[in-house]
Protein backbone atom coordinates (compact mmCIF):
# COMPACT_ATOMS: atom_id res chain seq x y z
CA UNK A 1 0.00 0.00 0.00
CA UNK A 2 2.59 2.52 1.06
CA UNK A 3 5.93 2.51 -0.72
CA UNK A 4 9.00 1.37 1.16
CA UNK A 5 11.88 3.83 1.28
CA UNK A 6 13.35 4.12 -2.17
CA UNK A 7 15.07 6.42 -4.65
CA UNK A 8 12.65 8.86 -6.23
CA UNK A 9 12.79 9.72 -9.94
CA UNK A 10 13.46 13.37 -9.12
CA UNK A 11 16.83 12.44 -7.65
CA UNK A 12 15.70 12.51 -4.04
CA UNK A 13 15.17 9.71 -1.54
CA UNK A 14 11.86 8.75 0.08
CA UNK A 15 12.73 8.44 3.75
CA UNK A 16 9.31 8.25 5.45
CA UNK A 17 6.20 6.87 3.77
CA UNK A 18 2.86 8.68 4.06
CA UNK A 19 1.75 6.23 6.73
CA UNK A 20 4.93 6.74 8.75
CA UNK A 21 4.53 10.50 8.62
CA UNK A 22 0.86 10.28 9.60
CA UNK A 23 1.61 8.07 12.60
CA UNK A 24 4.50 10.31 13.62
CA UNK A 25 2.24 13.35 13.77
CA UNK A 26 -0.52 11.46 15.52
CA UNK A 27 2.02 10.75 18.23
CA UNK A 28 3.41 14.27 17.96
CA UNK A 29 0.18 16.19 18.39
CA UNK A 30 -1.18 13.90 21.11
CA UNK A 31 2.14 14.15 22.96
CA UNK A 32 2.13 17.93 22.85
CA UNK A 33 -1.39 17.99 24.31
CA UNK A 34 -0.33 15.51 26.99
CA UNK A 35 2.77 17.55 27.73
CA UNK A 36 0.92 20.84 28.07
CA UNK A 37 -1.93 19.52 30.21
CA UNK A 38 0.49 17.35 32.18
CA UNK A 39 2.68 20.36 32.95
CA UNK A 40 -0.43 22.22 34.11
CA UNK A 41 -1.07 19.49 36.69
CA UNK A 42 2.64 19.24 37.50
CA UNK A 43 3.16 22.75 38.82
CA UNK A 44 0.85 25.50 40.13
CA UNK A 45 3.05 27.93 38.21
CA UNK A 46 1.97 26.26 34.96
CA UNK A 47 -1.70 25.71 35.89
CA UNK A 48 -2.60 28.61 33.56
CA UNK A 49 -1.87 26.31 30.59
CA UNK A 50 -4.94 24.26 31.49
CA UNK A 51 -6.97 27.46 31.74
CA UNK A 52 -5.87 28.46 28.24
CA UNK A 53 -6.73 24.97 26.94
CA UNK A 54 -10.36 25.22 28.06
CA UNK A 55 -10.16 24.76 31.81
CA UNK A 56 -8.48 22.21 34.03
CA UNK A 57 -11.61 20.05 34.31
CA UNK A 58 -11.59 19.63 30.52
CA UNK A 59 -7.85 18.94 30.58
CA UNK A 60 -8.35 16.30 33.26
CA UNK A 61 -11.09 14.65 31.21
CA UNK A 62 -9.18 14.68 27.91
CA UNK A 63 -5.62 13.98 29.09
CA UNK A 64 -6.24 10.22 29.54
CA UNK A 65 -7.91 9.94 26.13
CA UNK A 66 -5.01 11.76 24.48
CA UNK A 67 -2.80 9.27 26.31
CA UNK A 68 -4.61 6.39 24.65
CA UNK A 69 -4.13 8.03 21.25
CA UNK A 70 -0.45 8.56 21.97
CA UNK A 71 0.14 4.97 23.10
CA UNK A 72 -1.77 3.69 20.06
CA UNK A 73 0.49 5.77 17.80
CA UNK A 74 3.58 4.50 19.61
CA UNK A 75 2.40 0.89 19.16
CA UNK A 76 1.87 1.55 15.44
CA UNK A 77 5.42 2.88 15.34
CA UNK A 78 6.52 -0.32 17.02
CA UNK A 79 4.90 -2.33 14.24
CA UNK A 80 6.49 -0.17 11.54
CA UNK A 81 9.93 0.42 12.98
CA UNK A 82 10.82 -2.17 15.62
CA UNK A 83 12.97 -4.20 13.22
CA UNK A 84 14.93 -1.14 12.14
CA UNK A 85 15.32 -0.04 15.75
CA UNK A 86 17.01 -3.25 16.93
CA UNK A 87 20.38 -2.72 18.51
CA UNK A 88 23.19 -3.64 16.16
CA UNK A 89 26.87 -4.40 16.86
CA UNK A 90 27.83 -1.19 15.06
CA UNK A 91 25.97 0.95 17.64
CA UNK A 92 28.73 0.84 20.24
CA UNK A 93 31.21 2.50 17.88
CA UNK A 94 28.63 5.19 17.10
CA UNK A 95 28.08 5.98 20.78
CA UNK A 96 31.83 6.03 21.31
CA UNK A 97 32.14 8.69 18.65
CA UNK A 98 29.03 10.61 19.73
CA UNK A 99 31.04 13.68 20.76
CA UNK A 100 31.83 14.20 17.07
CA UNK A 101 28.12 14.02 16.33
CA UNK A 102 27.45 16.64 18.98
CA UNK A 103 30.15 18.88 17.48
CA UNK A 104 28.74 18.49 13.95
CA UNK A 105 31.87 16.60 12.85
CA UNK A 106 29.65 14.17 10.98
CA UNK A 107 32.34 13.04 8.56
CA UNK A 108 34.08 11.40 11.54
CA UNK A 109 30.99 9.40 12.54
CA UNK A 110 30.69 5.67 11.84
CA UNK A 111 28.16 4.84 9.16
CA UNK A 112 24.54 4.67 10.34
CA UNK A 113 21.69 2.53 9.06
CA UNK A 114 18.15 3.84 8.46
CA UNK A 115 18.00 4.82 12.15
CA UNK A 116 21.11 5.88 14.01
CA UNK A 117 21.61 4.72 17.62
CA UNK A 118 20.40 8.06 18.95
CA UNK A 119 17.10 7.59 17.12
CA UNK A 120 16.92 4.07 18.51
CA UNK A 121 17.31 5.43 22.03
CA UNK A 122 14.52 7.91 21.36
CA UNK A 123 12.26 5.17 20.00
CA UNK A 124 12.78 2.70 22.85
CA UNK A 125 12.71 5.49 25.41
CA UNK A 126 9.30 6.63 24.20
CA UNK A 127 8.02 3.07 23.87
CA UNK A 128 8.94 1.89 27.37
CA UNK A 129 8.13 5.15 29.09
CA UNK A 130 4.90 5.29 27.11
CA UNK A 131 3.87 1.86 28.35
CA UNK A 132 4.72 2.75 31.96
CA UNK A 133 2.83 6.02 31.57
CA UNK A 134 -0.15 4.05 30.29
CA UNK A 135 -0.11 1.59 33.20
CA UNK A 136 0.29 4.29 35.85
CA UNK A 137 -2.07 6.55 33.92
CA UNK A 138 -4.92 4.05 34.01
CA UNK A 139 -4.64 4.00 37.81
CA UNK A 140 -4.59 7.79 37.95
CA UNK A 141 -7.55 7.88 35.56
CA UNK A 142 -9.75 5.88 37.95
CA UNK A 143 -8.31 6.29 41.47
CA UNK A 144 -11.79 5.85 42.94
CA UNK A 145 -11.93 2.23 41.78
CA UNK A 146 -8.65 1.26 43.46
CA UNK A 147 -9.73 -0.24 46.80
CA UNK A 148 -8.05 0.90 50.00
CA UNK A 149 -6.32 -2.48 50.32
CA UNK A 150 -4.60 -1.92 46.95
CA UNK A 151 -3.66 1.69 47.65
CA UNK A 152 0.02 0.92 47.04
CA UNK A 153 -0.91 0.92 43.32
CA UNK A 154 -1.93 4.55 43.60
CA UNK A 155 1.19 5.37 45.60
CA UNK A 156 3.30 3.79 42.85
CA UNK A 157 1.37 5.49 40.05
CA UNK A 158 1.80 9.03 41.41
CA UNK A 159 5.59 8.65 41.31
CA UNK A 160 6.00 6.45 38.20
CA UNK A 161 3.86 8.77 36.05
CA UNK A 162 5.86 11.99 36.60
CA UNK A 163 9.23 10.22 36.52
CA UNK A 164 8.47 8.60 33.14
CA UNK A 165 6.94 11.84 31.89
CA UNK A 166 10.11 13.75 32.81
CA UNK A 167 12.23 11.18 30.97
CA UNK A 168 10.10 11.60 27.85
CA UNK A 169 10.36 15.39 28.19
CA UNK A 170 14.14 15.03 28.05
CA UNK A 171 13.88 12.90 24.93
CA UNK A 172 11.29 15.27 23.47
CA UNK A 173 13.43 18.39 23.93
CA UNK A 174 16.38 16.74 22.18
CA UNK A 175 14.16 15.25 19.46
CA UNK A 176 12.42 18.52 18.60
CA UNK A 177 15.65 20.49 18.79
CA UNK A 178 17.42 18.09 16.45
CA UNK A 179 14.52 17.64 14.07
CA UNK A 180 13.58 21.29 13.80
CA UNK A 181 16.83 23.19 14.33
CA UNK A 182 19.95 21.05 14.01
CA UNK A 183 19.35 18.45 11.34
CA UNK A 184 18.45 20.58 8.33
CA UNK A 185 16.37 18.41 6.03
CA UNK A 186 15.00 16.20 8.80
CA UNK A 187 11.85 18.24 9.37
CA UNK A 188 11.07 18.13 5.66
CA UNK A 189 11.55 14.38 5.68
CA UNK A 190 8.75 13.92 8.20
CA UNK A 191 6.46 16.40 6.41
CA UNK A 192 7.01 15.66 2.68
CA UNK A 193 8.80 12.39 3.24
CA UNK A 194 11.89 12.89 1.11
CA UNK A 195 15.51 13.89 1.67
CA UNK A 196 18.34 14.66 -0.71
CA UNK A 197 20.76 11.94 -1.72
CA UNK A 198 23.61 13.85 -0.11
CA UNK A 199 21.65 14.02 3.16
CA UNK A 200 20.92 10.31 3.09
CA UNK A 201 24.53 9.53 2.29
CA UNK A 202 25.88 11.79 5.05
CA UNK A 203 23.57 10.81 7.90
CA UNK A 204 22.46 7.28 7.04
CA UNK A 205 25.26 5.96 4.85
CA UNK A 206 24.59 2.23 5.38
CA UNK A 207 20.90 2.70 4.61
CA UNK A 208 21.58 4.81 1.52
CA UNK A 209 24.08 2.25 0.13
CA UNK A 210 21.46 -0.46 0.61
CA UNK A 211 18.88 1.62 -1.27
CA UNK A 212 21.35 2.05 -4.13
CA UNK A 213 22.02 -1.70 -4.22
CA UNK A 214 18.27 -2.43 -4.17
CA UNK A 215 17.71 0.01 -6.97
CA UNK A 216 20.51 -1.59 -9.03
CA UNK A 217 19.07 -5.04 -8.41
CA UNK A 218 15.64 -3.91 -9.59
CA UNK A 219 17.00 -2.70 -12.95
Amino acid sequence: MTPEPHLLPNGRVLRYSYRERLVHWLAGFSYVYLLLTGLAFWSPWLFWIAVVLGGATVSRELHPWAGLVFVAAVLMMYRMWASGMKESPADAAWWKAVRHYIRNEDEQMPSADRFNPGQKLLFWGFLWNGLLLLLSGVILWFPQYIPWSLRFLRYLAVIVHPVCALLTIGLFIIHVYMGAAIERGAFGSVIRGDVSRAWADRHHHTWYRQLLRDSEARK
Binding site: S43, W45, Q144, R151, V158, S196
Partner: protein
Protein backbone atom coordinates in the same frame (compact mmCIF):
# COMPACT_ATOMS: atom_id res chain seq x y z
CA UNK B 1 -15.16 33.04 47.37
CA UNK B 2 -12.73 30.82 49.15
CA UNK B 3 -9.65 32.77 48.14
CA UNK B 4 -11.05 36.14 49.13
CA UNK B 5 -11.23 35.51 52.84
CA UNK B 6 -8.52 36.34 55.32
CA UNK B 7 -9.35 33.11 57.11
CA UNK B 8 -7.35 31.07 54.57
CA UNK B 9 -4.05 29.54 55.66
CA UNK B 10 -3.22 27.25 52.73
CA UNK B 11 -4.50 26.84 49.16
CA UNK B 12 -3.97 23.79 46.97
CA UNK B 13 -2.26 24.09 43.58
CA UNK B 14 -1.64 27.75 44.23
CA UNK B 15 1.17 29.80 42.74
CA UNK B 16 2.29 32.66 44.92
CA UNK B 17 1.15 33.88 48.29
CA UNK B 18 -1.98 33.13 50.29
CA UNK B 19 -4.26 36.01 51.29
CA UNK B 20 -4.89 35.09 54.91
CA UNK B 21 -1.58 33.57 55.93
CA UNK B 22 -0.61 35.01 59.28
CA UNK B 23 -3.24 37.74 59.09
CA UNK B 24 -6.24 36.71 61.11
CA UNK B 25 -6.18 36.00 64.82
CA UNK B 26 -8.30 33.01 65.62
CA UNK B 27 -8.51 29.85 67.65
CA UNK B 28 -7.80 26.52 66.09
CA UNK B 29 -10.90 24.39 66.40
CA UNK B 30 -11.04 20.72 67.31
CA UNK B 31 -13.55 17.92 67.51
CA UNK B 32 -13.01 15.45 70.32
CA UNK B 33 -14.46 11.96 69.98
CA UNK B 34 -14.45 9.86 73.11
CA UNK B 35 -14.81 6.33 71.75
CA UNK B 36 -15.24 5.02 75.33
CA UNK B 37 -18.64 6.69 75.70
CA UNK B 38 -19.92 6.19 72.16
CA UNK B 39 -22.96 3.88 72.07
CA UNK B 40 -23.04 3.52 68.28
CA UNK B 41 -26.49 5.12 67.92
CA UNK B 42 -25.58 6.76 64.58
CA UNK B 43 -27.36 10.00 65.49
CA UNK B 44 -24.22 11.81 64.25
CA UNK B 45 -24.54 10.05 60.88
CA UNK B 46 -28.15 11.19 60.50
CA UNK B 47 -27.39 14.72 61.67
CA UNK B 48 -24.59 14.93 59.10
CA UNK B 49 -26.89 13.83 56.28
CA UNK B 50 -29.64 16.21 57.45
CA UNK B 51 -27.52 19.31 57.88
CA UNK B 52 -25.61 18.83 54.64
CA UNK B 53 -28.72 17.79 52.71
CA UNK B 54 -26.98 14.77 51.29
CA UNK B 55 -28.67 12.24 49.03
CA UNK B 56 -29.32 8.76 50.37
CA UNK B 57 -26.89 5.92 49.88
CA UNK B 58 -27.38 2.19 49.83
CA UNK B 59 -26.58 0.35 52.99
CA UNK B 60 -25.06 -3.10 53.19
CA UNK B 61 -25.53 -5.87 55.71
CA UNK B 62 -22.52 -7.81 56.90
CA UNK B 63 -23.87 -9.48 60.08
CA UNK B 64 -22.81 -6.55 62.24
CA UNK B 65 -23.92 -3.05 63.13
CA UNK B 66 -21.87 -1.74 60.21
CA UNK B 67 -24.13 0.13 57.82
CA UNK B 68 -21.63 0.35 54.96
CA UNK B 69 -17.96 -0.52 54.68
CA UNK B 70 -16.58 3.01 54.50
CA UNK B 71 -17.61 6.64 54.13
CA UNK B 72 -18.73 7.68 50.69
CA UNK B 73 -19.01 10.89 48.68
CA UNK B 74 -22.52 11.45 50.06
CA UNK B 75 -21.96 9.86 53.49
CA UNK B 76 -19.22 11.78 55.28
CA UNK B 77 -19.67 10.45 58.78
CA UNK B 78 -19.72 6.73 59.52
CA UNK B 79 -19.32 4.80 62.76
CA UNK B 80 -16.91 1.92 62.32
CA UNK B 81 -17.88 -1.09 64.43
CA UNK B 82 -15.38 -3.74 65.34
CA UNK B 83 -16.04 -6.81 67.46
CA UNK B 84 -12.59 -6.87 68.96
CA UNK B 85 -11.23 -9.80 70.94
CA UNK B 86 -8.97 -8.72 73.74
CA UNK B 87 -5.85 -10.68 74.68
CA UNK B 88 -7.67 -12.29 77.64
CA UNK B 89 -10.34 -13.62 75.27
CA UNK B 90 -13.06 -11.20 76.30
CA UNK B 91 -14.91 -9.20 73.66
CA UNK B 92 -15.08 -5.45 73.16
CA UNK B 93 -17.40 -3.76 70.71
CA UNK B 94 -15.22 -0.89 69.51
CA UNK B 95 -17.05 1.98 67.89
CA UNK B 96 -15.34 4.89 66.22
CA UNK B 97 -16.98 7.70 64.37
CA UNK B 98 -14.98 7.99 61.13
CA UNK B 99 -14.80 11.23 59.15
CA UNK B 100 -12.24 13.69 57.85
CA UNK B 101 -9.51 14.23 60.45
CA UNK B 102 -8.73 17.79 59.30
CA UNK B 103 -4.97 17.26 59.43
CA UNK B 104 -2.66 20.09 60.34
CA UNK B 105 -0.53 18.99 57.34
CA UNK B 106 -3.20 17.70 54.93
CA UNK B 107 -2.05 15.14 52.37
CA UNK B 108 -5.08 15.89 50.17
CA UNK B 109 -4.07 19.53 49.90
CA UNK B 110 -0.44 18.64 49.21
CA UNK B 111 -1.44 16.30 46.37
CA UNK B 112 -4.08 18.56 44.79
CA UNK B 113 -3.04 20.28 41.53
CA UNK B 114 -6.15 22.48 41.15
CA UNK B 115 -5.84 26.08 42.29
CA UNK B 116 -8.14 26.64 45.26
CA UNK B 117 -9.87 23.24 45.18
CA UNK B 118 -8.72 22.49 48.73
CA UNK B 119 -8.22 25.20 51.31
CA UNK B 120 -7.12 25.12 54.92
CA UNK B 121 -8.63 27.79 57.08
CA UNK B 122 -6.80 29.54 59.89
CA UNK B 123 -8.99 27.62 62.34
CA UNK B 124 -7.62 24.32 61.01
CA UNK B 125 -10.60 23.17 58.94
CA UNK B 126 -9.60 21.58 55.62
CA UNK B 127 -12.37 22.23 53.11
CA UNK B 128 -12.95 21.10 49.52
CA UNK B 129 -14.19 23.77 47.09
CA UNK B 130 -16.00 21.71 44.50
CA UNK B 131 -16.30 24.66 42.11
CA UNK B 132 -12.51 24.59 41.77
CA UNK B 133 -12.17 20.79 41.88
CA UNK B 134 -11.14 19.20 38.58
CA UNK B 135 -12.00 15.66 39.68
CA UNK B 136 -8.50 14.23 39.29
CA UNK B 137 -8.65 12.29 42.56
CA UNK B 138 -5.07 13.03 43.63
CA UNK B 139 -6.49 13.94 47.07
CA UNK B 140 -7.73 10.35 47.38
CA UNK B 141 -4.11 9.21 47.06
CA UNK B 142 -2.73 11.95 49.31
CA UNK B 143 -5.04 11.12 52.24
CA UNK B 144 -3.73 8.58 54.79
CA UNK B 145 -7.24 8.11 56.24
CA UNK B 146 -9.23 7.04 53.14
CA UNK B 147 -11.58 10.02 53.39
CA UNK B 148 -11.98 11.93 50.09
CA UNK B 149 -14.53 10.16 47.88
CA UNK B 150 -15.27 10.69 44.18
CA UNK B 151 -18.83 11.33 43.07
CA UNK B 152 -19.42 9.64 39.70
CA UNK B 153 -22.29 12.02 38.92
CA UNK B 154 -20.72 15.31 40.00
CA UNK B 155 -17.25 14.09 38.92
CA UNK B 156 -15.85 15.96 41.92
CA UNK B 157 -14.53 14.80 45.27
CA UNK B 158 -16.42 15.31 48.53
CA UNK B 159 -15.78 14.88 52.24
CA UNK B 160 -16.68 16.17 55.71
CA UNK B 161 -16.42 19.96 55.99
CA UNK B 162 -16.35 19.94 59.79
CA UNK B 163 -19.56 21.92 59.20
CA UNK B 164 -17.50 24.94 58.26
CA UNK B 165 -20.73 26.77 57.46
CA UNK B 166 -21.96 26.24 61.04
CA UNK B 167 -18.60 26.90 62.70
CA UNK B 168 -18.22 30.29 60.99
CA UNK B 169 -21.60 31.20 62.50
CA UNK B 170 -20.50 30.21 65.99
CA UNK B 171 -22.31 26.86 66.03
CA UNK B 172 -20.83 23.46 66.69
CA UNK B 173 -20.80 20.86 63.88
CA UNK B 174 -24.10 18.98 63.33
CA UNK B 175 -22.70 15.67 64.60
CA UNK B 176 -21.67 17.25 67.91
CA UNK B 177 -25.12 18.79 68.32
CA UNK B 178 -26.83 15.43 67.90
CA UNK B 179 -24.72 13.23 70.20
CA UNK B 180 -26.90 11.93 73.06
CA UNK B 181 -24.11 10.63 75.28
CA UNK B 182 -21.83 13.62 75.12
CA UNK B 183 -19.00 11.57 73.66
CA UNK B 184 -18.53 14.32 71.06
CA UNK B 185 -17.07 17.66 72.06
CA UNK B 186 -16.15 20.73 70.09
CA UNK B 187 -13.95 23.67 71.04
CA UNK B 188 -10.46 25.02 70.70
CA UNK B 189 -7.66 22.58 70.02
CA UNK B 190 -5.98 23.34 73.36
CA UNK B 191 -9.21 22.91 75.33
CA UNK B 192 -10.07 19.65 73.56
CA UNK B 193 -6.54 18.34 74.04
CA UNK B 194 -6.79 19.10 77.80
CA UNK B 195 -10.19 17.44 78.05
CA UNK B 196 -8.96 14.39 76.13
CA UNK B 197 -5.85 14.05 78.29
CA UNK B 198 -7.96 14.28 81.46
CA UNK B 199 -10.40 11.66 80.17
CA UNK B 200 -7.54 9.32 79.17
CA UNK B 201 -5.96 9.72 82.62
CA UNK B 202 -9.31 8.95 84.24
CA UNK B 203 -9.62 5.78 82.11
CA UNK B 204 -6.10 4.69 83.04
CA UNK B 205 -6.41 5.43 86.75
CA UNK B 206 -10.01 4.57 87.54
CA UNK B 207 -11.40 2.32 84.83
CA UNK B 208 -8.62 -0.20 84.34
CA UNK B 209 -7.72 0.80 80.79
CA UNK B 210 -3.94 0.90 81.29
CA UNK B 211 -3.28 1.84 77.67
CA UNK B 212 -5.95 4.50 77.35
CA UNK B 213 -4.70 7.54 75.47
CA UNK B 214 -5.34 10.32 72.99
CA UNK B 215 -5.02 9.91 69.22
CA UNK B 216 -3.61 13.10 67.72
CA UNK B 217 -1.11 11.68 65.21
CA UNK B 218 2.10 13.73 64.89
CA UNK B 219 2.89 12.25 61.44
CA UNK B 220 0.39 14.67 59.87
CA UNK B 221 1.21 17.49 62.27
CA UNK B 222 -1.67 16.58 64.57
CA UNK B 223 -5.32 16.61 63.59
CA UNK B 224 -8.31 18.81 64.26
CA UNK B 225 -10.33 15.71 65.08
CA UNK B 226 -8.88 13.76 68.00
CA UNK B 227 -9.93 10.54 69.68
CA UNK B 228 -9.81 9.12 73.18
CA UNK B 229 -9.14 5.38 72.79
CA UNK B 230 -9.33 2.66 75.45
CA UNK B 231 -6.17 1.25 73.92
CA UNK B 232 -4.12 3.86 72.13
CA UNK B 233 -1.40 1.29 71.37
CA UNK B 234 -3.73 -0.42 68.92
CA UNK B 235 -5.65 2.22 66.94
CA UNK B 236 -5.92 -0.23 64.00
CA UNK B 237 -8.54 -2.14 66.00
CA UNK B 238 -10.86 0.86 65.76
CA UNK B 239 -11.94 0.23 62.17
CA UNK B 240 -8.46 0.63 60.72
CA UNK B 241 -7.33 3.88 62.28
CA UNK B 242 -3.68 4.07 61.08
CA UNK B 243 -1.09 3.82 63.81
CA UNK B 244 1.29 6.40 62.42
CA UNK B 245 -0.39 8.16 59.48
CA UNK B 246 1.78 10.29 57.22
CA UNK B 247 1.39 11.72 53.75
CA UNK B 248 2.35 8.72 51.52
CA UNK B 249 6.09 8.69 50.86
CA UNK B 250 5.72 8.73 47.07
CA UNK B 251 3.40 11.76 47.28
CA UNK B 252 6.05 13.54 49.35
CA UNK B 253 8.81 12.56 46.89
CA UNK B 254 6.72 13.64 43.93
CA UNK B 255 5.73 17.00 45.42
CA UNK B 256 9.13 18.10 46.69
CA UNK B 257 12.44 16.58 45.49
CA UNK B 258 11.12 15.29 42.16
CA UNK B 259 9.46 18.61 41.41
CA UNK B 260 12.69 20.50 41.99
CA UNK B 261 14.78 17.97 40.11
CA UNK B 262 12.34 17.89 37.20
CA UNK B 263 12.01 21.65 36.93
CA UNK B 264 15.79 22.10 37.00
CA UNK B 265 16.23 19.34 34.41
CA UNK B 266 13.65 20.85 32.04
CA UNK B 267 15.04 24.38 32.34
CA UNK B 268 18.60 23.04 32.13
CA UNK B 269 17.70 21.03 29.02
CA UNK B 270 16.17 24.06 27.29
CA UNK B 271 19.17 26.24 28.12
CA UNK B 272 21.46 23.38 27.08
CA UNK B 273 20.03 22.94 23.58
CA UNK B 274 19.98 26.70 23.04
CA UNK B 275 23.61 27.00 24.11
CA UNK B 276 24.46 24.09 21.82
CA UNK B 277 22.85 25.84 18.89
CA UNK B 278 24.81 29.02 19.56
CA UNK B 279 28.05 27.06 19.82
CA UNK B 280 27.69 24.53 17.01
CA UNK B 281 24.72 25.57 14.88
CA UNK B 282 22.91 23.34 12.43
CA UNK B 283 24.19 20.37 10.46
CA UNK B 284 23.94 21.42 6.84
CA UNK B 285 24.63 18.92 4.08
CA UNK B 286 26.26 21.08 1.42
CA UNK B 287 25.47 20.06 -2.14
CA UNK B 288 23.71 17.21 -3.78
CA UNK B 289 25.32 15.13 -6.51
CA UNK B 290 23.01 16.68 -9.07
CA UNK B 291 23.73 20.19 -7.85
CA UNK B 292 20.54 20.76 -5.85
CA UNK B 293 20.56 22.20 -2.39
CA UNK B 294 20.97 19.35 0.10
CA UNK B 295 18.21 20.52 2.37
CA UNK B 296 15.12 21.73 0.66
CA UNK B 297 13.30 23.44 3.53
Amino acid sequence: MSQATLGIRAISGHAGSVPGAGVERGLEVCKLIDTTTCIGCKACEVACLEWNGLTFSETTFDNSYQTMPETSWNYWNLIKFNEHEREDGSMALLMRKDQCMHCEEPGCLAACPADGAIVQYVNGIVDFQQDHCIGCGYCITGCPFNIPKFSPTARKVFKCTLCNDRVTQGLEPACIKSCPTGCLHFGSKTDMKDLADKRAAQLREHSGFANAGVYDPPGVGGTHVIYVLHDSTNPEAYGGLPKNPTIPLTVQLWKTPLKWLGNLAIIGGLIGVFAHYLRFGPKIVEEDENGKQGARQ
